[in-house]
Amino acid sequence: MAGIYIHIPYCKQACYYCDFHFSTSQRTLPAMIDAICQELNLQKDYLPGKPSLQSIYFGGGTPSLLSPLHLERILNTIYKLHHVETDAEVTLEANPDDLSLEKLQSFYQLGINRLSIGIQSFQDDVLRQLHRAHSAKQAIEAVRQAQAVGFRHISIDLIYGIPGVSHNRWLKDIEQALALQVGHISAYCLTIEEKTVFGRWYQKGKLTPTDDAVAAAQMALLIERLEAAGFVHYEISNFALPGQFARHNSSYWKQLPYLGVGPAAHSYDGHSRQANIANNALYIKSIAAGKVPAQGEVLSPQDHANELLLTGLRTIWGCSLSRIRQYLTPRQWDGLQQEIARYVAEGYLQLENDTLRLTKKGKFIADSILEALFVVD
């Protein structure tokens, strides 16, 4: 049980909210494909015990920028080095403006069986506000065309809590998403990150973040509408129809090992986490010299406990207290139990046998609760 993540660090243009690693110049792209294939070779034994792969995930950046030939090379490299299960989930993140009919058909034929389409909003003025490269119409057409080509697993991304966007308009976005009959929706509350255009505007006082009460109301609206339509709220920002849960992403929340390849990609082998350098040129140079430019850290027992809380509580699977307890001293365990009892009593957490979960109310302030539960010296 393991997965591989491939980071494709290129975008046509910078969205104003995004702080992932990408470049808008594709000059280094051919060399990058070589480097990614080379890193796959260098890291072929990273995952402990040579597990078979359940998932492959192309993220970015914008992986849909890639030509089918490039994708094929990467996929072939993976297939050559690893045993990939026959029903493995192979996801590609895509922007609507890249999804021509021909490209969709090529992707499908290459074995991509899941698309995660970055739609964000179905309203053109909002798309402009976010500096997206596509229109609402293009987004709807992309989904329909992908369905026509045969993709049975389609996820779309939406953003709420955008300054100036009313509850009504947000509701319209939700209804439009449901009307497209996709099986998976990721809905993210806008976070203003420091090193983005929005971040700079915020610092200069040109952008006022949405009040948290407004964002909370939009989140409540989202949960209510999607649950009514049969979706399961299986992670804070993820909703799926039964059978459509994202397998690769779920492995992050279930603490399963994964290998991340490409600049800024992260890996986890069950004991330590590591991250590749977030710089395209330096990444290519180092890989060419035969060295994976990664920095990592071994997780301490305390880190393990905190990560189990952090990832587990965000999901419907919750976290197993007996698993967490293994990592704690008796004193730390006592402290944790006291905090849990307090939040259970206040209705933010629920404890069912060994499993701890957030209640509906708890999901809204998950970070405050996590902070209280965290074990620190």
Partner: protein, 596 residues
């Protein structure tokens, strides 16, 4: 005795006092280059970091000049108004002073009050213009300033660069030639001035002194005049880089003694040492009992750390004679200590030393002066914390300490300084022009108005060109009230303050606003109220936190998010839970930051 020279260095922060001292030690081979650590004299880490001298130090150098060996005692002085009494005692132990002025900056006001102190004690002043190697150096103009100020001749001024080693020889020669040798009667009864003490965990307190008359020998039975305590001198010696024992220290010289004194507070700066068998007639003039001026509560963040804090305070007091404390209890903060400090810098230093040397995280409450509250029954109660204030119904009137404040500044800043002092309830008593450009202002003001941020404010509005000195006048009646802060209806005793009635509304409003900024949002609404007695005079609300959850948590977000939450949680460890409300440490000091 004719070959002894006792001198100190008067300089503004950053004008190169410590570098010059280092250079003198190197030149006289008191310290070899190998052992040289920048700023040898500033022995506490805190001093080296802040670039200021907190305690006095002394060191002896040998210097050969024209075939004779001279003993030069360099006595370093603290550089802050909180310690002005200690400065006066160090100066009293000298016959001369090096006035060190930065060649680019010119004379700064902080230098002036110490300079006057030195002139008052008849010290021979040797002016030195330092940093002449700087591109911006302007020794001509700076020289004019010095001549204006002390009336010396231009050729008396030594041009130097301690950094480059220029002028060091000349300075040493001037110390020998211009500073008079000490006077005194070697055959008279012992009379020595204590100007410093150093705590040594193995040997007890080392007393640093200057002998005025007579001689102090190993084995002597000595008496400290002010405390009346008697000791046997186990060891005397001179202060080289390390302490070097001698059989005796003679008239005019500087030395240390060890006699198994366990606590710093037994040794009072300014006290006189004499012998039991043949005491001197009178003590050396100028001794003052140093009294704390500022009081504040110090509490452990965790109640369970109270005993650890007590132990840390006891150890701290061993080498900080000025620190006084006694246990107190606060409804909001539990068990802690009410402490008395010389001033705000002293308070900060104590807090920082607790954190650094003893790894104690503490909460300090709003600083206060000592008030005299008179009850209707005519009884006087000393109040150094708002919680000690008697019930308003029982209260007849309150008196607060007043001080005479002396400010020396440039003429152009007089207007701004007047405004500041009048805001702080000051009354102008004198305005003297020392030169056409230099003005001395004398105010009478309540001490409470100058202990917080007055000095910082003064420096800002005068661009650093103002010196401050103050002396205690006495207690005077004032219209004071106790202002309480309530969080969700609960009175938080640690946030109460005693303020002037006319300022209470403004103060209450601003304090509520400041607390609103400082209190983190929680799952429920927090009402912040300011009240006098039962009357609420200001209110602010911290809205409930409605949503706090990270949108994305994938591969790379996990570590980042975990670390962020861990850091936040550690930050919360410095918070106190009052009722259900979590209050960060800074909130207890919010009062001090009302203007920011």
């Amino acid at each position: 005795m004719k070959n002894i020279r006792n001198f100190c260095i008067i300089a503004h922060i950053d004008h190169g006092k410590s570098t010059l001292a280092d250079r003198l030690l190197e030149y006289t081979q008191t310290v070899d280059q190998r052992k040289m650590q920048a700023q040898v004299l500033d022995s506490m880490d805190l001093e080296r970091e802040r670039g200021i001298t907190i305690k006095s130090h002394a060191i002896q150098m040998k210097y050969n000049y024209k075939g004779e060996t001279y003993i030069l005692n360099l006595i370093d002085t603290p550089g802050h108004v909180d310690f002005s009494y200690e400065v006066s005692r160090s100066i009293a132990a000298c016959e001369g002073a090096l006035l060190v002025v930065d060649a680019a900056q010119g004379i700064e006001a902080q230098t002036i009050s110490n300079l006057y102190l030195a002139i008052e004690h008849d010290l021979e002043i040797i002016p030195v213009i330092n940093k002449i190697d700087l591109p911006a150096a302007n020794p001509e103009v700076v020289g004019d300033e010095i001549i204006d100020l002390i009336g010396c001749k231009r050729e008396d001024i030594i041009l130097a660069s301690a950094k480059e080693g220029i002028g060091i020889e000349e300075i040493l020669q001037a110390v020998v030639e211009r500073i008079p040798a000490p006077e005194g009667d070697p055959n008279a009864p012992l009379q020595a001035l204590i100007f410093d003490s150093v705590f040594n965990p193995y040997r007890g307190v080392e007393v640093i002194f200057r002998v005025y008359n007579g001689r102090i020998r190993k084995g002597d039975k000595v008496k400290f005049w002010a405390t009346g305590r008697e000791y046997e001198v186990e060891e005397v010696g001179i202060l080289r880089l390390d302490k070097e024992p001698r059989d005796y220290i003679d008239t005019g010289d500087v030395g240390y003694l060890v006699s198994g004194i366990k606590q710093a507070k037994e040794v009072k700066v300014g006290d006189t040492i004499t012998t039991v068998s043949k005491p001197c007639d009178a003590p050396i003039k100028g001794f003052k009992e140093v009294k704390p001026m500022v009081f504040a509560g110090i509490y452990p963040v965790e109640n369970s750390e109270f005993e650890d804090l007590r132990e840390a305070m006891e150890k701290l007091q061993l080498n900080d004679a000025a620190l006084v404390w006694e246990p107190e209890t606060s409804a909001a903060l539990g068990f802690g200590f009410r402490c008395g400090f010389l001033g705000m810098l002293h308070m900060e230093i104590v807090q920082e030393r607790l954190e650094r040397e003893f790894d104690m995280t503490v909460i300090t409450t709003v600083p206060s002066v000592k008030y005299h509250a008179y009850t209707t029954g005519g009884k006087m109660i000393e109040v150094s914390a708002p919680s000690e204030m008697p019930d308003p119904a029982m209260l007849d009137h309150i008196e607060e300490p007043f001080v005479k404040v002396q400010i020396i500044t440039k003429a152009e800043f007089v207007g701004n300084i007047m405004t500041l002092c009048l805001e702080r309830r000051g009354v102008l008593k004198q305005q003297n022009y020392l030169t056409t450009d230099r003005v001395e202002l004398v105010f009478e003001m309540p001490l409470a108005e100058i202990i917080f941020d007055f000095f910082d404010k003064l420096k800002t509005i005068s661009r650093g060109y103002a010196s401050l000195d103050y002396e205690f006048l006495g207690y005077r009646e004032s219209k004071l009230v106790k202002l309480d802060i309530l969080l969700n209806g609960e009175r938080v005793d640690a946030l109460s303050a005693i303020v002037h009635r006319d300022k209470a509304y403004d103060w209450g409003k601003r304090l509520c606003e400041k607390l609103k900024e400082l209190l983190p949002r929680q799952q429920f609404e927090i009402a912040i109220q300011a009240a006098i007695g039962t009357k609420v005079i200001a209110r602010e609300t911290v809205k409930a936190l409605r949503k706090n959850v990270l949108a994305k948590c994938y591969g790379g977000d996990i570590t980042r998010k975990r670390k962020l939450l861990e850091k936040q949680k550690k930050g919360k460890k410095r918070m106190r839970q009052i009722g259900k409300v979590e209050v960060p440490q800074e909130a207890f000091m919010a009062v001090l930051k009302l203007d920011q």
